[in-house]
């Protein structure tokens, strides 16, 4: 699983119409597709075929999607993207908090689906590497120096603001739920204090100016930092400033 190309994707959905277009779409993007029509079959294939990514429909007739997710997490850290409806926020949040990496709202476009799959696979690959600088259009988050630069100018941040921004930047392109952010920045005692988040996100957006729009809101679910333009590898060399 060293390359993006050829990754094996397991699609678990009971609706044949979904399989009918997901398979050619993913195959055209050079992924290998495994199809499962029931939860039981999906669980079996997740164990036996070791997929690089799982697309999971939360509404399966034979098994609760959350239960399936929990059982997959019992033996694998494979990235899971759930398919869900816009009006089922609590379901999405539960899935994300339960270990899913991202979600796609039905009905979804093929382009969006492929973008989410790419992001999830990249994160998975970069999981063990500690990046030094995450770059965005007009903004750099320097995780080593613990500073953020907008258009080359350092923006002073408080400790909590930095903690929040670095967590989002670390997961650039992925949604983080309120609970994940609150636990990560304030600690598990504050998982209900969503208003903290609103305040700090607001402050961050203000301090970052134009770059503040990189901090996207997922209504009712959490926040998502835009995709990084470039992800530094271990031997990434910063261009000379001279």
């Amino acid at each position: 699983m060293s390359t993006l190309v050829g990754a094996r994707i397991l699609v678990i959905d009971d609706e044949p119409q979904i399989h009918r277009f997901v398979r050619p779409a993913l195959e055209a993007a050079n992924y290998v597709v495994e199809r499962a029509d029931t939860g039981a079959e999906g669980l079996r294939l997740a164990a036996s075929r070791a997929p690089d990514l799982v697309l999971l429909d939360l509404g399966l007739p034979d098994m609760d999607g959350h239960e399936l997710l929990a059982r997959v997490r019992g033996f694998s850290q494979v990235p899971v993207i759930v398919l869900s409806a816009r009006d089922r926020e609590s379901e999405k949040i539960a899935a994300l908090d339960g270990g899913a990496d991202d979600y796609v709202e039905k009905p979804f476009g093929v382009g969006e689906l492929l973008a989410r799959i790419r992001t999830a696979l990249r994160h998975c690959r970069a999981r063990d590497q500690v990046p030094e600088i995450v770059r965005f259009a007009g903004m750099e988050v320097d995780l080593a120096l613990r500073q953020v630069r907008v258009a080359g100018v350092v923006v002073p941040l408080s400790r909590r603001e930095w903690a929040l921004l670095s967590l989002l930047a670390h997961n650039a392109g992925r949604v983080l739920t309120h609970r994940q952010l609150l636990t990560g920045v304030w600690g598990p005692a504050h998982v209900e204090d969503v208003q903290y988040l609103r305040v700090y996100i607001g402050q961050l957006r203000q301090k970052l100016g134009d770059a503040g729009r990189l901090l996207g809101t997922e209504p009712g679910v959490g926040y998502r930092m835009a995709e990084a333009t470039e992800k530094p590898g271990a031997n990434y060399v910063e261009p000379s400033s001279a």
Binding site: E15, I18, F21, P24, A25, E27, P61, G109, L113
Partner: protein, 889 residues
């Protein structure tokens, strides 16, 4: 009681203060002792100085009475045009209330508060116009002469010999936030009069000798000053109570005016009001009603009670059936803890005077704890008193009949040659007296006694043909006859009166009972309104019911149906609806309207009005009945409206449930095909080159399939809507079940999984197209839930005039709790989020169609044919009436 409680502000006073503070409009009264002291002049002078300060001053109505000084002051003040009211061919100019309301000046000047408006105006009196303007928030300055105050009416009449015809209730003074007394010494005033500044010279000299006599003016001036002082006093006391100041309040005095049946009733009321004012005490007016009271006297009492209410008294009417008036009076007085009783000297019957049974005397004797005030009988003939109506007496018939009976008895006695003894002939006359008493009451009985006595004496008692009696025996007989006749007549008369009063009371109770029964029956508003109109018309020839909707009054029911209201009646109706008072004919508000309106108001809201147009003036029992009717009608109307509202709320809730189900279904049933379509289209667009032609074709077919699913969903919704609005009208004819089943099965995507078992050529009475659709929906549902490869069975059998068409699947079955709901719209047996693709509408539509054709549909699970170890399965059966005739094929 603790100290804190003692100094707590009086809640009533606080409320009164809040009301007057909440009212933004302020009233200032320029009070004068007599005409010509310069009230209007002073008001205009002050108004002009306000105008100079930039205040928007408008003269609402100013009477200059041709006085030059006054006319000079008004020149610079804008004047509101007067309204012309046509009355009996004359145009009367009046203050234009609506124009004032529309113009809304910062300060409005209104002259002559006591003025009586022309008939056809909205209010009978100008002060009522002002009250309305105040309520609307306008600030008003007005002028008033003290002689017009209702409570001073008697005093002024006694002092000046002239009873002011235009009066206004004393509480109008309470409305005033400010009062300015315009004082002029009597000498100066008379000088002004002599100078011709008040009236033209010829009138002036007459006035100097009459109303403007020096002592009259001095007395009026004193009254005016006292009144103004009392007003200040009231304000100070109100302030003291509001602020919780502990003051030397008079002990709790209570004045009770006892309203009798004589002419002094109104004087009693005014005296009581003055006493209550002087004592700063509360007061009430009490009238004791007895069955034998003559109607005219009862009306006088009612007028006095109305006056008392106007002057701010509590009023009470007690009805007693016996004769013990004094006990009833004292009872009421003690119940109210009264300290002062005010009664009229009145005109007691002569025999009562003789026996010393005057009410005042009895009260003095039996009620030592009360201060008793006896008011003199009025000595000035009232100009405004309506001519006293004589009590309703029997017509001429009784008198003629009694005369004839006496004549016949006499002739008969004479013709028989005086064969009867003298005593016996006497008995015949006594019989006539008793008859007269029983049939016609006291007076004809007395007449019979007198004529009988004379006839008997003249024709039968020796000496015959002379009105003299010789023998002492005959004298005794005559006296006994007279005594018996008078007693019998009186007793019979009273019994009659009591019986008739009892009848009236029973009648009115019966009516009220009938109202609640009749008004309780209708369940819809139009029915109820027409019933109310019906009941109203029973009492007063024509009746209409108007209801208020969105502040607009509209005619809802009329009896007879063509009854209509003219403009004046509409105005009266609107007033009644808005203010909750009776208006129109016989009331003080818009009395010129030829209808009378009773408000239909409940505690909660103003519902409308009941209007009646009687053929003659409404008498008391009919008035009471109409009042009872309007009360009960209001309650009944409110009840019907609440019932309708709650039914609507229930329906809304059903609709809400359905809407939620529809939204959930839309979300699920449209999202899935939409995802398929969007995904397939997106794949085709982005990856066209990278996928095989076969895959492209498959994706396109997939789009078609999903579009079909969405179309079917929308089609089902449309069908259901049409069913629910009753647009589907089945055409019933005999149809063959086998044909219908075959047609339905061939429409299924996979007809091979359906087995039919339909015996002999069974026919049902149904609409072929609708039955096919119903059966298709049931089959579609069965196929969807049946496990792959299993068979769905369609069977038909006749039973007791019906044909049962059953569809059996071998699917997962339906839990017992859900069996009752499978035919509900958007119902889906819960199996996690995702179920087989379906809308939850198919079975609901099937049921709707089957029921529209007069059949029924039912579900059964598990199926009786289920294998012991397989799925429980479901049977859905359509029952249709069997057709005896077989349709031609």
């Amino acid at each position: 009681m603790s100290q804190a409680d003692d100094i707590r502000p009086d809640p009533d006073e606080l409320l009164a203060a809040a009301i007057s503070e909440a009212r933004t409009g302020k009233l200032k009264i320029f009070l004068g002792a007599a005409p010509g002291v310069g009230k209007t002049y002073e008001m205009l002078v002050q108004a002009r100085s306000r105008q100079a300060e930039g205040v928007d001053v408008v003269a609402g109505i100013i009477e200059t009475h041709g006085r030059a000084e006054t006319a000079a002051q008004i020149e610079h003040i804008p004047i509101l045009p007067r309204r012309t009211i046509q009355y009996r061919g004359r145009g009367l100019e009046e203050f234009d209330l609506d124009a004032a309301l529309a113009r809304r000046p910062a300060l409005l000047l209104v002259d002559e508060l006591a003025h009586t408006n022309a008939p056809g105006s909205r209010h009978a009196k100008r002060w009522e116009d002002v009250a309305e303007l105040l309520a609307a928030g306008l600030t008003i300055w007005a002028t008033l002469n003290v002689q017009h105050l209702e409570s001073l009416n008697d005093d002024v009449a006694r002092i000046t010999g002239v009873r002011p015809s235009e009066t206004l209730p004393d509480r109008v003074l309470d409305l005033a936030d400010e009062m300015e007394i315009i004082d002029l010494s009597p000498a100066d005033l008379r000088q002004r009069l002599k100078d011709g500044k008040i009236y033209r010279a010829d009138n002036a000299s007459r006035a100097l000798e009459g109303f403007f006599k020096e002592q009259n003016l001095a007395a009026l001036r004193e009254i005016a000053l006292r009144r103004a002082a009392a007003h200040v006093d009231t304000h100070v006391r109100a302030w003291m109570r509001r602020s919780g100041v502990r003051g030397p309040f008079p002990a709790s005095e209570y004045v009770l005016a006892l309203i009798g049946l004589d002419d002094s009733a109104e004087s009693v009321v005014r005296q009581a009001k003055r006493m209550a004012d002087a004592l700063h005490s509360r007061w009430a007016a009490l009238h004791i009603e007895r069955p034998a009271d003559p109607e005219a006297a009862a009306r006088t009492a009612r007028h006095a009670l109305a006056l008392a209410a106007q002057l701010g008294a509590d009023t009470e009417v007690r009805a007693i059936d016996g004769t013990n008036l004094v006990a009833a009076l004292l009872d009421a007085a003690r119940a109210r803890n009264a300290s002062h009783l005010v009664i009229g000297r009145g005109a007691a019957p002569a025999w009562r005077r003789l026996t010393g049974r005057r009410l005042a005397g009895q009260l003095l004797q039996r009620a030592p704890e009360f201060a008793l005030h006896v008011v003199p009988a009025p000595n000035v003939t009232s100009r405004r008193r309506t001519p006293r109506q004589r009590a309703a007496r029997p017509g001429w018939v009784p008198w003629v009949a009694v005369t004839a009976a006496v004549a016949i008895a006499t002739c008969g006695g004479v013709a028989m040659g005086r064969m009867l003894p003298v005593e016996a002939s006497n008995m015949i006359y006594l019989a006539i007296v008793v008859f007269a008493a029983v049939f016609w009451g006291t007076y004809p009985a007395l007449y019979a006694a007198v004529t009988g006595l004379f006839a008997w004496d003249f024709f039968f008692v020796p000496p015959i043909y002379a009105i003299t009696i010789e023998s002492p025996q005959d004298l005794v007989t005559g006296l006994v006859f007279a005594a018996v006749a008078v007693l019998t007549g009186g007793l019979a008369g009273r019994t009659r009166a009591e019986a008739s009063a009892a009848r009236t009371r029973v009648e009115s109770l019966r009516r009220i009972g009938a109202f609640s029964r009749r008004l309780g029956t209708p369940t819809t508003e139009p029915d109820l309104l027409s019933e109310i109109a019906h009941q109203g018309a029973d009492l007063a020839v024509r009746a209409v019911v108007l209801t208020t909707q969105a502040n607009e009054l509209s005619l809802q029911a009329a009896q007879p149906a063509q009854a209509e209201l003219d403009e004046g009646a509409w105005a009266a109706a609107r007033w009644a609806a808005e203010h909750g008072e009776q208006t129109g004919q016989g009331t003080s508000t818009l009395p010129s309207a030829n209808w009378r309106f009773f408000p239909l108001h409940t505690v909660r809201e103003k519902l409308g009005v009941l209007g009646v147009q009687p053929d003659a003036e409404l008498d008391e029992p009919r008035l009471q009945a109409l009042e009872a009717l309007s009360d009960q009608a209001a309650v009944a109307l409110e009840r019907v409206r609440l019932a309708t509202e709650s039914a609507r709320a229930a329906a809304m809730q059903d609709t809400q449930v359905l809407r939620t189900a529809l939204l959930a279904s839309l979300s699920h049933d449209l999202r899935t095909p939409l995802t398929g379509i969007q995904g397939a289209a997106g794949t085709l667009r982005t990856a066209w080159d990278k996928i095989s032609p076969a895959t492209r074709t498959d994706l396109l077919e997939s789009i078609e399939l999903d579009v079909g699913r969405m179309a079917r969903f929308l089609h089902n919704i449309a069908d259901l809507t049409r069913l629910e609005t009753g647009e589907i009208r089945p055409r019933i004819a005999p149809v063959l079940v086998a044909e219908i089943a075959e047609a339905a099965i061939t429409r299924l995507p996979d007809p091979l999984h359906v087995a039919t078992d339909i015996g002999a050529p069974l026919a049902v009475r149904a609409d072929a197209a609708l039955l096919e659709q119903s059966l298709f929906n049931v089959l579609d549902n069965a196929v969807k839930y049946a496990p792959g490869g299993s068979i769905v069975h369609v069977r038909a059998a006749a039973h007791r005039g019906e044909v049962a068409i059953s569809v059996t699947d071998e699917g997962v079955g339906i839990p017992p709790d859900d069996l009752g709901h499978v035919f509900d719209s958007f119902f889906r047996v819960h199996r996690g989020d995702r179920t087989a693709a379906g809308t939850g509408l198919g079975l609901a539509i099937a049921r709707g169609l089957v029921e529209a054709m007069g059949g029924r549909i039912e579900a059964q699970s598990p199926s009786p044919q289920a294998h012991r170890h397989g799925f429980p399965g479901t049977v859905i059966t359509i029952h249709m009436p069997q057709s005896v005739g077989i349709p031609e094929v």
